[in-house]
């Protein structure tokens, strides 16, 4: 469709401040955090569900791809217009619609920022316990679309464990509520779990009802510094065998510690091969008790320096630095930038030490820095590869390196993504990792979105449209 015609059509739904086909604007929406770049045909910022419905009907009529986007903080290329089309930016749909404390739930529009939601809930003593590192920036819609998790998945699970209901605009423009406002239901297929993590390929989510929990009375943090990565795996296993389930167990390797020190020099973390950061929560008494236990477990398992605190300010400082270590990774090597490839593998807990050693080996083999950190408590590692973006040889090496990382994760019984999603970045691995699942996914996609207008080109789903099934 030509630009003038598209502009005309969009102007029947949106005021001039809420859509654009300007070339410069389109370029700014051609990327997310991933390395991919595809320019859309238009960008719209809906303000309400009705506009989304009208837009979907228009796209359905004219076969225009629609790509929902929260804050563009996704790392898999999920919010990129591979086949052109319209980016649907939910930034303006950022209202918290209803807090129902009696029924432990909150309903929000898709564009609400995660940190804003928890700031709002905090005043009532509640929280949405899934905490991604990008909390200050990412939207709840994006979290649902990508089945995000983050720092506290060990104890609290991931986004899919908290979604009670979704209002979805389906590819033909019909509006559907997929769940229920009660805490559980066995009424039919669990379509909530189907749509959570569907990356915008099945419909557009406009409203989300989330289960919320009371904020724990107290929290404690133990940090331990190790000179042997093998000891870290043992320490983690021993925490679990001591019947302690921490809220979070985070790992930072030598270079990640260095990145934090460069980003926040006042942290002054000691030089070590790796660091463990363990967060405990619960009642005041229990936190004091288990914090001490974890402190001793880390010591007994070889930590050469161990510290613990239950003070909010100190705890918060550590977490704030940890949350941004991914983006700060580039500070360890001048002239290099972080790229999001091979950055979200998840491996069995028993294989963490082996994985860390493999990553070091690969870093040396390719002569590219890899800063490693992640949610060791659930086996989710984030190797941050650094390259010189203006060096073509580095891009070539990056392709090979990320391939090796992903293949290694699959070989040892892991997965190519723990929480960032498949999108474009990992589409080619789905066939290898979960062939039957991909086959079913393609059938489901084709059944719900026969015209393939919902975020086409992602998750290797287009293959379903090329077959004659």
């Amino acid at each position: 469709m030509n630009k003038a015609k598209l502009t005309d059509l969009l102007s029947t739904i949106f005021d001039e401040k809420s859509y654009s086909t300007d070339e410069a604007v389109l370029f700014a929406y051609s990327m997310d955090v991933s390395i991919h770049e595809y320019v859309p045909d238009a960008v719209v910022l809906p303000e309400n569900r009705d506009q989304v419905v009208q837009l979907v009907k228009l796209a359905h009529t004219y076969n225009i791809p629609l790509i929902p986007r929260g804050s563009g903080t996704g790392a898999s290329g999920g919010a990129i217009a591979v086949h052109g089309g319209i980016i649907v930016d939910f930034t303006k749909m950022n209202k918290i619609l209803n807090l129902d404390i009696e029924n432990l739930q909150v309903t929000v529009e898709s564009g609400v920022i995660h940190a804003d939601l928890n700031k709002y809930l905090e005043q009532f003593g509640f929280f949405f316990p899934v905490i991604p590192g990008s909390s200050d920036m990412c939207s709840i819609g994006g979290m649902v679309g990508n089945s995000a998790s983050g720092l506290r998945a060990v104890k609290y699970g991931t986004t899919k464990d908290y979604v009670l209901d979704l209002e979805v605009v389906l590819p033909d423009g019909k509006i559907g509520n997929l769940g229920s406002s009660v805490q559980k239901t066995a009424s039919g297929y669990d379509l909530i779990r189907l749509f959570v993590g569907s990356e915008g390929t099945l419909g557009i989510i406009t409203k989300i009802t989330l289960k919320i929990l009371p904020i724990p009375e107290a929290r404690g943090v133990v940090s331990g510094f190790f000179n042997d990565v093998e000891q870290i795996g043992k320490a983690v296993v021993n925490i679990f065998t001591a019947k302690i389930i921490p809220a979070a167990i985070e790992l930072l390797d030598k270079s990640a510690i260095q990145a934090i020190n460069l980003y926040k020099p006042t942290m002054n973390l000691p030089d070590a091969e790796a660091m463990l950061l363990v967060e405990l929560d619960g009642t005041k008494e229990s936190v004091i008790s288990i914090t001490k236990k974890v402190y001793h477990i880390l010591k007994e398992n070889g930590a050469f320096q161990t510290e613990m605190t239950t003070k909010d300010e100190e705890r918060q400082k550590l977490w704030n630095a940890r949350k941004l270590v991914g983006a700060a990774a580039r500070r360890v090597r001048d002239g290099y930038a972080r790229v999001y490839e091979g950055e979200d593998i998840t491996v069995p807990l028993s294989k963490i030490a082996k994985t860390l050693l493999k990553l070091r080996e690969l870093s040396q083999e390719f002569n590219l820095p890899i800063v490693v950190f992640g949610h060791i408590g659930d086996g989710n590692l984030h190797p941050a590869i650094l390259i010189q973006k203006n060096n073509p040889e580095h891009w070539e090496k990056l392709n090979q390196l990320s391939e090796k990382i992903h293949e290694f994760a699959i070989e040892i019984g892991g997965t190519v993504t723990g929480e960032h999603g498949i999108g474009l970045t990992r589409a080619k691995y789905l066939q290898k990792e979960r062939p039957i699942v991909l086959e079913l996914m393609r059938k489901i996609k084709k059944a719900i979105d026969p015209k393939n207008i919902m975020n086409p080109g992602k998750m290797d789903l287009d293959g379903g449209y090329n077959s004659n099934e």
Partner: protein, 394 residues
């Protein structure tokens, strides 16, 4: 910012490109960017503007009207860079993109008018240089024998305070304080030219600003001043950070007036005994705080006032949000500047602040405009005016 002046173009482009490519696109800046909070478009966030700049530099996009508008909706408040995990120097990138726009003759007309005024009249208002002393009418006797006379301190007044009537109280107050403390000072009067800050912020790369720098430096040097003091954070940033890049080491030290007053308090030469039983907040001017690192001096002054309750928000000092008066945004997007200021006023009202204090003519000007429609319970005052009042000089 000033460092770009001496680089040759290819080196500059290479260093800017590396800076843009550093960006991990994590979006931390998006969460902080004041103009994004209002506009909601990616292109009005720091991350988006870096992408626009990258697209232009790589010749991937044309210089559209929308691009120009978004590049000129940046307050250059530096909040993005302050917290950027990847250490991207966003203000430097924005100013360079403004330079590209200027070279094509596409600078927005309200800003081009300011630049034309500077070219023609050496001040931003296109007034006669003779009118630079209009603000002195209440302190004429105190300065008539001091203009362009050798002295210890050279007070550089700046265009906003010299020509805009509502801001004239700022230099007037400092003159009264310095006179009361028997400080040996001079001013350049009609010989003062604009510091040149608008040229830098607008991305005007014609190097005319260098003439302004040389003129002002030579005038002050001829008076053998040991210290140049300015009440305007914009002038302070230019004198302290950019002039040395253009001119080399300056033959005098540069102080913001709050630093001078804080030094006088520390020496015991300035004492405030009158009470101020109010809850006040200090609006950190972006060019004084994040751009130049001066946070403590104004707080040291204010905290010596008896009975005052100086309130610091979580988002003060390094995390302080721009008042909306920066980056020449007000000239192109006056509503955006006003909305940003009104957002800040709402925060102050909800925290039951009695009075906002600032030490910047742009902040004062923007607050005065934005407070017009707000309750009288909240007022804005310049720090120098406050101190002069407490010393019973005003």
């Amino acid at each position: 910012m000033g460092a770009i002046i001496r680089m040759n173009e290819s080196l500059l482009n290479e260093s800017l490109l590396i800076d843009m490519l550093k960006c991990a696109r994590c979006g931390k800046c998006r969460a902080l960017c004041p103009s994004f909070k209002e506009n909601k478009w990616e292109t009005s966030s720091a991350r988006g503007r870096v992408l626009l700049s990258l697209g232009l530099m790589q010749n991937k996009i044309p210089m559209t009207k929308r691009l120009i508008s978004d590049i000129f909706s940046c307050f250059i408040c530096k909040q993005c860079s302050e917290l950027c995990p990847s250490a991207v120097d966003v203000p430097r990138i924005i100013e360079n993109t403004r330079t590209l726009i200027h070279k094509k003759g596409l600078t927005p007309s309200p800003i081009q008018l300011i630049l034309d005024n500077l070219d023609e009249s050496k001040n931003i208002f296109n007034m006669d240089q003779e009118d630079r002393l209009l603000w002195t009418m209440n302190v004429e006797e105190l300065i008539e024998n001091r203009i362009c006379k050798p002295a210890e301190i050279g007070f550089f007044v700046g265009c906003l305070e010299s020509f805009k009537g509502s801001l004239g109280v700022i230099p007037e107050a400092l003159i009264l304080i310095m006179d009361a403390l028997k400080i040996d000072f001079t001013i350049l009067g009609e010989e003062e030219w604009c510091c040149g800050n608008p040229y830098f912020i607008a991305g005007d790369s014609r190097h005319i600003a260098n003439q302004f720098a040389e003129h002002n430096i030579q005038k002050m040097a001829a008076l053998k001043v040991k210290t140049v003091v300015t009440t305007c954070p914009g002038c302070y940033r230019v004198w302290s950070s950019i002039y040395p890049v253009i001119y080399g080491t300056l033959p005098f030290q540069i102080l913001h007036s709050t630093q001078l007053l804080a030094q006088l308090i520390a020496k015991g030469e300035l004492q405030i005994t009158n009470l101020l039983p109010q809850k006040i907040v200090f609006q950190d001017p972006c060019e004084l705080g994040r751009h130049c690192g001066v946070y403590d001096a104004p707080r040291k002054i204010l905290s010596t006032i008896p009975n005052v309750r100086l309130f610091d928000f979580e988002n003060s000092r390094e995390n302080s949000e721009c008042c909306g008066g920066g980056g020449l945004v007000k000239a192109v997007h006056p509503n955006l500047a006003k909305l940003q200021c009104q957002n800040k006023i709402k925060q102050y009202l909800s925290n039951k602040i009695d009075q906002i204090i600032t030490a910047c003519p742009s902040c004062l000007d923007n607050y005065l405009t934005s407070l017009e429609s707000n309750p009288e319970t909240l007022t804005i005052k310049d720090l120098h005016e406050l101190i002069a009042e407490l010393l019973d000089l005003l």
